[in-house]
């Protein structure tokens, strides 16, 4: 009975504090939600800022000019020789076409201002046209040519018309731009350079294709090396070796490599691949080698997890039938683990695609215009191109950087979606 008293006392004391405890509970719960909201809003802000800055880069101002392919400029002696056609002064054609459009530009300054409206690479477009179809010579055509990046930026509202606010155009130029605009000769069209050409000093001509191909070659090297090496290592550790000092050493190494800063792999690449083995600088081959080292631990660890997930009785069944270990692995374990291994590999590759620090170390930051034709040609990679463009002073590169990021993120999204799809599709419950 004594206890009976104490018991009700307990209930009372508990009651007395309940409200406070529930308030704490609520607050704690709120912190949790708030953290997730904060983290996700960071993500939202990041994506929003990049998409809002980058989407404009997919369109770009072009100018329609009626260009006379004057034979006396292109091919004075009419031989139609490739060399002659190739080295002709196409800039003159552009200039003449502009002059024809705006005959009022007479003095040198006016002509300079006029020329400044069109891309410095416009002549290359004409050259490409003529080289492709010499019969154009002598004709006059309406041609859409890229406008100067500054015109593009002005139209997108990234640049003020007001010279006091950083505007770069004179009143005369603004007049011309408006005239072109209102006559429908200046409009935004799909930015094909972004997806077909390499880097350029001219923002309006700068493209990602070189970087994409460079990334592709690097990745090719990475996949061909790290996939077999990673899977072989995982198989050895999981299926063949017994735990001993040697495998412990390997394991410690793998775990550490997984956490070594990637720039250290760059230093390794610089010292070993470039300085010792004398491989070419800036080459996707070397980049791929460095990225192999970056992604190898990921692949090994994922493959081991996938192999571990194959239930042991599959192994027992195979061995019990007289399969050798290798047969057991090749016929049963590996096929069952393959979806997991592939998923891990894709995730490792996604990591490699986004990696740039080691590439800086091995010279893949050079300004490279040509689209690489082999893994030995100098090249950049997508993330490095982003880095380069982010550091480029021209205003027009800001949106292009964002556009490049969008492209990179799309690649990564596709890769990760593939990985998720694989995992979902082949998910197995034993």
């Amino acid at each position: 009975m004594v206890d009976q008293v104490r018991v009700s006392a307990t209930a009372e004391k508990v009651n007395a504090r309940l409200q406070r405890r529930y308030a704490v509970e609520k607050r704690f719960r709120f912190y949790g939600i708030a953290s997730i909201v904060v983290a996700l809003s960071f993500l939202a802000i990041l994506l929003f800022s990049i998409i809002s800055q980058g989407h404009t880069a997919f369109m770009q101002a072009e100018m329609r000019l009626s260009v006379t392919f004057d034979p006396s400029v292109i091919d004075p002696d009419g031989g139609r020789q490739k060399a002659v056609l190739s080295s002709a002064d196409y800039t003159a054609l552009v200039r003449n076409a502009l002059l024809a459009r705006f005959p009022e530009a007479e003095d040198r300054l006016a002509r300079r201002e006029m020329i400044a409206l069109i891309s410095q690479g416009a002549d290359l477009e004409l050259r490409k046209m003529v080289m492709g179809d010499p019969s154009l010579i002598g004709t006059t055509r309406d041609v859409w040519l890229p406008a100067a990046a500054s015109v593009d930026q002005l139209r997108k509202g990234h640049m003020s018309r007001d010279a006091d606010k950083g505007g770069q155009f004179t009143q005369r130029q603004l007049g011309w731009i408006d005239a072109l605009e209102s006559s429908g000769n200046l409009s935004s069209r799909f930015n094909k350079w972004l997806f077909t050409s390499g880097d350029s000093r001219q923002p309006e001509l700068a493209g990602l294709w070189g970087a994409v191909v460079g990334s592709f070659y690097s990745l090719l090297v990475t996949v061909t090396l790290s996939f077999p090496l990673g899977v072989a290592t995982a198989i050895y550790l999981e299926e063949f070796s017994t735990r001993n000092r040697w495998t412990d050493l390997i394991e410690v190494n793998i775990n550490n490599l997984a956490a070594v800063p990637s720039i250290v792999f760059g230093l390794l690449g610089l010292e070993i691949f470039l300085n010792v083995f004398n491989l070419p600088r800036s080459a996707p081959l070397v980049g791929g080698l460095a990225l192999t080292l970056v992604s190898l631990p990921t692949i090994i660890i994922a493959s081991r997890v996938a192999l571990k997930a194959v239930p042991p009785w599959i192994r027992e069944a195979a061995l019990g039938l007289g399969a050798s270990r290798l047969q057991m692995v090749m016929h049963h374990v590996l096929p069952l683990a393959m979806p997991g291994i592939l998923t891990g590999t894709i995730i490792g590759m996604a990591r490699a695609v986004g990696e740039s620090a080691p590439l800086l170390m091995i010279g893949m930051v050079a300004f490279i215009v040509d689209v690489p034709a082999s893994p030995l040609d100098p090249s950049t990679a997508l993330p490095v191109q982003i880095y380069l463009w982010a550091a480029s002073p021209e205003r027009a590169f800001v949106e292009r950087t964002s556009a490049a990021i969008i492209v990179l993120l799309c690649f990564l999204a596709v890769m990760n979606a593939t990985a998720i799809f694989l995992r979902k599709k082949f998910e197995r419950r034993w």
Binding site: D3, V7, T10, A11, K13
Partner: protein, 269 residues
């Protein structure tokens, strides 16, 4: 032994109307689609040990966990029917589950001391419920709980060492001490000895017998011998149904149901 059987029926009849601490009426439990407990009605009398027995998966733990609403924590678990503690519906909206669990303590199958010192393990309940006014108060509660759990002598010199360092039997007694430190009215025990060796089991059984004086105890056990040894009343579950319920002696000597008989003679389970 038909006489004993009659005696049981009388006893049992009395029990049903006696001073019951906890009553369950038509309790059903569903885990998602699975109907795990089917229309169980049962009353548990104060200051007695009630044993729940039955083959694995028959719903003993499920029933036990209904009594202090631990089933609330399981996703998809749904409880219908009425369970009262001292006449109050414990599933009532106005009843606070934290308070309920302070009144109905629980000891689990596997000893689960917190990764804290022995002292803090026992002090945990009183602390969160604010049962001690001062640290001296708290110490008194801890010591007396350990004493009542028969553990004090063994650990008094190392109260600040981690509770996880004790042996299995000691850990289980620590968990019992932890449970009684909040002075609950009812203690639920889910196979408290199944992870223990025979000697530790004997100690815990002895303890249960002592605790009966002050607490109402419900114990789930797999061992019929244990049920026979420690409990006053026994409920036999099978496939989610309460097959038979009555005085322990009667259940073991003169079961009324074929199923019960089959189980206690070891023919299945």
């Amino acid at each position: 032994m038909p006489i004993a059987s009659e005696a049981f029926l009388q006893q049992s009849g009395r029990a049903m109307t006696g001073t019951s601490k906890v009553t369950a009426k038509d309790v059903n439990v569903y885990y998602g689609d699975k109907h795990a407990l089917k229309a169980v009605s049962l009353d548990i009398r104060a200051n007695e040990v009630t044993a729940l027995i039955g083959p694995s998966g028959c719903g003993k733990s499920t029933f036990l966990r209904c009594l202090n609403r631990m089933n609330d924590l399981i996703e998809g678990a749904r409880v219908t029917g009425l369970i009262t503690l001292d006449g109050d519906d414990i599933y009532d909206y106005s009843l606070d589950v934290v308070q309920l669990r302070a009144r109905i303590g629980m000891v689990f199958q596997k000893p689960n001391p917190f990764p804290k010192s022995i002292f803090d393990n026992v002090a945990y309940g009183p602390r969160i419920h604010g049962l001690a006014q001062s640290s001296a108060d708290l110490e008194e509660i801890v010591v007396s709980s350990l004493q009542r759990a028969g553990l004090y002598e063994e650990v008094k010199d190392r109260l600040s060492e981690p509770g996880t360092g004790l042996s299995g039997g000691q850990q289980q007694r620590l968990c019992i001490a932890r449970a009684i430190a909040v002075s609950p009215e009812v203690i639920l025990m889910d196979e408290p000895c199944s992870a223990l060796d025979p000697i530790a089991t004997a100690k815990v059984e002895e303890l249960i017998d002592e605790l009966r004086e002050n607490y109402t105890i419900v114990i789930v056990t797999h061992s019929m011998q244990q049920a026979a040894r420690v409990s006053q009343r026994t409920a036999f579950f099978h496939l989610g149904e309460l097959v038979e319920f009555g005085d322990t002696e009667q259940i073991f000597t003169n079961p009324q149901q074929k199923l019960t008989q089959g189980y206690i003679t070891g023919r299945f389970g």
